[in-house]
C-alpha cells in the first residue's frame, strides 16, 4: 500500500456546507459579476450607448482610424466600430448563453446519473460519448447549416448536439469518485433516497469542475462563433457579432487594425468576466473548512 492509498483509505467525514452565515465577499466573483452586469446592460440597451446605427454606411468615413467622431474608427463600409462592438454584446451574450444552456443542464444530469449508477450505465454512456465526440463536428455543423440554412439558431443546435458530452464526462468522473467517499456511504446507511444523496450531497460536490468548465465554455462558444464567421457560417451580415467583426478585419490587420482589435478586446473582457465568475463560484461552492 502506497502512502497515497493509505491516506485515501482513511475514513473521512462528510461536512455539510454552511448555509446560514453570509459568506465573506468573494472579490473574484464580484469582479466577474460586475463585468458581466455591465455586458448585460449593454446587451439590453445597446442603442442607449452606441453613438451610431450599427449598420449605417458612411462613404465619407471609410476605413478611418479612431477619432473624436468614431472613437474606435470605422470599417470598409464606413460603419462605426464602437457602435458595432456595442450592438454585438446582445448577439454574443446570446451565443454564450444559448450555445451552452442545454449542454450544461443535460450534460450534468446525465453525468450525475451515469457516475452514480456506474456499471452498465457507465459502459453504455461510454459508447454514446464515443459516438458523439468522435463524430466530426464540422460535418455536423455544415450539414445542419446546409439543411436548415445559416444563422445562430442552427449554430445552437449544432453546438448543443455535441457540447453536453463534455459536461457529462466531467460530472460523471467526479461523481464516480464522490460516491465512493464515505459521506455518500453514510447517506446510504442512513436510508436517504438515491435522488437525495445524488442531488443534495454528491452533485454539489462534483459540480464545481462542470461550472468552471461552463464559464470557459461560454467564452469558447463565442470563439466558435468567430471561427464559423471565418467560414461564413455564423451570424449573417449585416448583424454585428464580434467574431464576424474580427474576421471582417482580417484583411486589414496592417492597414486598419482597429476593425479587429476592439471587438477582440470586447471578447477578452467578457471572457474575463466569465472566468472570474467561474473561479469565484468555484471558491464559493467548494466545501469550506
Amino acid at each position: 500500500m502506497t502512502a497515497a492509498e493509505d491516506v485515501l483509505s482513511r475514513p473521512r467525514q462528510h461536512r455539510p456546507r454552511r448555509r446560514m452565515r453570509p459568506p465573506p465577499i468573494n472579490w473574484t466573483f464580484a469582479a466577474g459579476a460586475a463585468i458581466l452586469l455591465a455586458a448585460i446592460l449593454l446587451a439590453i440597451a445597446p442603442g442607449a450607448f452606441a453613438p451610431y446605427e450599427p449598420t449605417k454606411f458612411d462613404y465619407k468615413a471609410i476605413l478611418k482610424g479612431p477619432s473624436a467622431a468614431h472613437l474606435f474608427g470605422s470599417d470598409n463600409f464606413g460603419r462605426d466600430i464602437l457602435s458595432r462592438t456595442i450592438w454585438a454584446f446582445r448577439v454574443d451574450l446570446q451565443i454564450a448563453l444559448f450555445g451552452t444552456l442545454f449542454p450544461v443542464l443535460f450534460g450534468t444530469l446525465v453525468g450525475a446519473a451515469v457516475g452514480y449508477a456506474g456499471g452498465w450505465a457507465q459502459v453504455v454512456f461510454g459508447r454514446v460519448v464515443d459516438a458523439v465526440v468522435t463524430f466530426p463536428f464540422l460535418v455536423l455543423i455544415i450539414a445542419i447549416v446546409a439543411v436548415l440554412g445559416p444563422g445562430l439558431i442552427n449554430l445552437y443546435i449544432a453546438v448543443s448536439t455535441v457540447g453536453w458530452v463534455f459536461y457529462a464526462r466531467i460530472v460523471a468522473a467526479e461523481v464516480a469518485v464522490q460516491r465512493r467517499l464515505d459521506y455518500a456511504a453514510a447517506g446510504r446507511v442512513m436510508g436517504y433516497s438515491t435522488a437525495r444523496i445524488l442531488l443534495r450531497h454528491i452533485l454539489p460536490n462534483a459540480i464545481t469542475a462542470a461550472i468552471v468548465y461552463w464559464m470557459t465554455d461560454m467564452a469558447l462558444c463565442i470563439l466558435l462563433g468567430s471561427s464559423l464567421g471565418y467560414l461564413g457560417l455564423g451570424a449573417q451580415p449585416p448583424t454585428a457579432e464580434w467574431g464576424v467583426l474580427i474576421a471582417d478585419g482580417k484583411n486589414y490587420m496592417r492597414t486598419a487594425w482597429w476593425i479587429s482589435i476592439f471587438p477582440g478586446l470586447a471578447i477578452v473582457i467578457t471572457g474575463l468576466g466569465f472566468s472570474l465568475l467561474g473561479d469565484g463560484l468555484a471558491d464559493m461552492l467548494r466545501p469550506r473548512r
Binding site: 454606411f57 470598409n76 463600409f77 455544415i142 445559416p150 461564413g232 449585416p238 484583411n251 486589414y252
Partner: protein, 530 residues
C-alpha cells in the same frame, strides 16, 4: 475600328501596370531558376477535355499546347502547333498546317494522328462540358502528315478562336491509350497523374492540396528572345495556400516569387512595397447579381423580380461606384454591358444603369411595389467580396424600401439551388475562356443553353439573333447582331456591377509573367532576374 481603339486601351492599361516591357523583346534574359507561385486552390483534374474549373483551365496551357494560341491581349489568335490556317471562302472548312519537328515532352513526335485524335476527343458530345466550342466541326481529316482539314457543318465565325481554347489541346494518342483503365474516363484519370503534353512545362510531381511541381519541357518548340528554346525557367512550383493573408506573407517573406488572387483590400498597401510588383492584369472578369425572373418562385409565391420595371429599379438604386469603392477599393470599373469591355464585339460606355434612386422609387411605384418587398440573395460563404457586395446592396435597396436578406451558403448548395431555380438572387462572376463573345452570350442570354443562367429569362429576338450570329462570317453584320443583343439584355435578369483585373503580386525580380484576360497563367516567357 472599335477593336483597334480597345487594343490601344489595353496597351495603355498594360503600361499602367508596368507590364509594357513584356511586349518589347527582353534584352538580356536570365535563364534558370524555379519560380514558386502561391495559388488559392489546387487543381482538380488537369485534363484538357474533362476538367470543369478555372483551377485547371488557367494552368493547363503550361502543360499542353493548342494548334493556335490566344494572343496576349486575349482578343485574337497566333500560331501554335499549327503555323498557318485558312478558312474556305464558303466558311465550311478550315485547313491547318502543322509546325515541323514538334515533339511531346517525352521526345516522341507530334503527328497528324495525335491532332485528329485529340480534336475528335474534344468535340465528342459525350466528353465533358466544353465540346460546344467544337460544335460546328463535322469531321477532322488528315490530308497529309502536315495538313489537317476540318469540315464544318455550318460556317462558324468563332472556330478559329475555338482552336486556341484549352479543350482543343493536343495530347499523345498512343501514350494516352496505353494508360490502365477500362474506359476513356479512367484512362484520362490515370493520364492526368503523369500527363505528357507539348507545353513549355512538364508535371513532375503533385501532392494534392499541397504542391504541384512543373519542370521545363526540353522539347518545347518556341524560341526565347535569346534565340534558344523557351521556357527560361527550370521549373514552376505551385503551392496551395487558401488563406489570402498567408499567401501574401509568403511573398513578403521571400518564400514565394508570386501569388494570385490578392484581396483588393491589400492592393494599395502592396503597391507601396518597393520589393514587390503589385500587378493588375486586365481581365474579362465581370461581377454581377443574377435574378430569378420566373413569375412564380419554387415556393409558389409571386415573384416581383419577374417584372422588368422592378429589376430596372433595383439596378437604378444600386450605386455601382460606391460598390466599386467599397469592394474593389477603386480597382474595378462599372460594367457597360453584360460582357466585359475586353470581350470582342462589346458595346457600351459607362454603367449600364447610372445610379438614380429617385427613378428607382418611381419605377417601383409604377410596378405597384411602392411599399417595397423582400427577397434573399445567395452569397458564397466566407467570400469577402460577395459579402461586401451583398451588404452594400442591402443598404442601397433598403433606401428604396426593398429588403434584402443575405444567405451565405457553400458553393455546392448555391450551385444546386441555382440549377433548380430555387433562388431569388445570387451573386456571380464570369471570365471568358475564348476570344469571342459567343460563350458568355450563350450562357447569359441564349435560353436553350442553361436558361439564361438558370434565371428563366427568355427573349425570342435574342435567341434568334444569337443563332444567326453563330453562323455569320461578315464581321460588321455580326457586330450589329451583338450590339442589338446587348441592347435587349438591358431588360435581362442581371444587376451588372463591375469589371475587375486579376490581382497578382510578384517579386520585382520576376519578369515576363503574364495572366492573359482569359485567365491563363503564362510562365513560358517568365524569368527570375536578380
Amino acid at each position: 475600328m472599335t477593336t483597334a481603339i480597345k487594343s490601344a486601351a489595353i496597351l495603355t492599361l498594360l503600361a499602367g501596370t508596368g507590364l509594357a516591357g513584356l511586349a518589347a523583346p527582353a534584352q538580356a534574359v536570365t535563364r534558370g531558376g524555379t519560380m514558386t507561385y502561391g495559388r488559392y486552390a489546387d487543381s482538380l483534374f488537369p485534363d484538357p477535355v474533362l476538367n470543369d474549373a478555372n483551377v485547371d483551365i488557367w494552368i493547363l496551357s503550361n502543360i499542353y499546347d493548342t494548334l493556335l494560341l490566344p494572343t496576349d491581349d486575349g482578343k485574337g489568335v497566333q500560331p501554335g502547333l499549327a503555323t498557318a490556317w485558312t478558312v474556305a471562302p464558303d466558311g465550311k472548312s478550315v485547313t491547318l498546317t502543322l509546325r515541323e519537328g514538334t515533339m511531346f515532352s517525352d521526345g516522341s513526335p507530334i503527328t497528324a494522328e495525335d491532332v485528329k485524335w485529340s480534336l475528335d476527343r474534344a468535340r465528342d458530345p459525350k466528353n465533358g462540358i466544353w465540346n460546344f466550342i467544337d460544335e460546328s466541326i463535322g469531321a477532322v481529316d488528315i490530308k497529309d502528315p502536315k495538313t489537317i482539314v476540318l469540315t464544318l457543318k455550318h460556317p462558324d465565325p468563332a472556330i478559329i478562336a475555338g482552336l486556341s481554347v484549352f479543350n482543343n489541346q493536343i495530347m499523345p494518342k498512343t501514350q494516352f491509350e496505353a494508360m490502365p483503365g477500362a474506359t476513356m474516363v479512367e484512362k484520362a484519370k490515370a493520364f492526368a497523374e503523369h500527363p505528357v503534353g507539348s507545353g513549355p512545362f512538364v508535371l513532375q510531381s503533385w501532392s494534392r492540396g499541397q504542391e504541384m511541381k512543373l519542370v521545363r519541357n526540353p522539347h518545347y518548340w518556341r524560341q526565347g528572345a535569346d534565340g534558344k528554346p523557351l521556357p527560361y525557367l527550370d521549373g514552376v512550383t505551385f503551392e496551395v495556400l487558401p488563406d489570402d493573408a498567408t499567401r501574401i506573407l509568403k511573398v513578403q517573406s521571400g518564400e514565394l516569387d508570386g501569388a494570385e488572387f490578392i484581396p483588393f483590400s491589400r492592393v494599395e498597401e502592396l503597391k507601396g512595397d518597393p520589393k514587390l510588383n503589385m500587378a493588375l492584369f486586365p481581365s474579362t472578369k465581370v461581377t454581377y447579381g443574377n435574378f430569378n425572373v420566373r413569375p412564380k418562385l419554387n415556393s409558389g409565391a409571386d415573384n416581383p423580380l419577374s417584372n422588368a420595371k422592378v429589376r430596372e429599379a433595383l439596378n437604378d438604386a444600386a450605386d455601382k461606384d460606391a460598390i466599386i469603392a467599397i469592394v474593389t477599393h477603386g480597382v474595378g470599373t462599372p460594367m457597360s454591358s453584360y460582357m466585359s469591355s475586353a470581350t470582342p464585339l462589346h458595346t457600351g460606355t459607362g454603367p449600364v444603369f447610372p445610379t438614380d434612386p429617385d427613378k428607382a422609387k418611381a419605377l417601383l411605384k409604377e410596378a405597384g411595389f411602392d411599399k417595397g418587398f423582400k427577397f434573399s440573395c445567395l452569397v458564397l460563404a466566407g467570400n469577402v467580396d460577395e459579402i461586401g457586395i451583398a451588404t452594400a446592396l442591402q443598404q442601397m435597396w433598403a433606401a428604396v424600401g426593398v429588403t434584402l436578406d443575405i444567405e451565405q451558403v457553400d458553393n455546392a448548395t448555391r450551385t444546386d439551388r441555382f440549377r433548380k431555380g430555387d433562388f431569388s438572387m445570387r451573386l456571380g462572376d464570369w471570365t471568358d475562356d475564348i476570344a469571342d463573345p459567343n460563350e458568355i452570350t450563350s450562357y447569359f442570354g441564349y435560353t436553350p443553353v442553361i436558361e439564361a443562367q438558370h434565371s428563366g429569362w427568355k427573349s425570342d429576338e435574342f435567341n434568334s439573333l444569337y443563332e444567326a450570329s453563330q453562323q455569320e462570317l461578315d464581321t460588321t453584320k455580326r457586330a450589329g447582331q451583338y450590339a442589338r443583343m446587348q441592347e435587349i439584355y438591358r431588360n435581362g435578369p442581371t444587376v451588372p456591377l463591375y469589371e475587375s483585373p486579376y490581382p497578382v503580386v510578384l517579386k520585382t525580380g520576376v519578369k515576363g509573367f503574364l495572366q492573359i484576360p482569359l485567365g491563363n497563367n503564362i510562365f513560358s516567357g517568365t524569368s527570375l532576374e536578380k
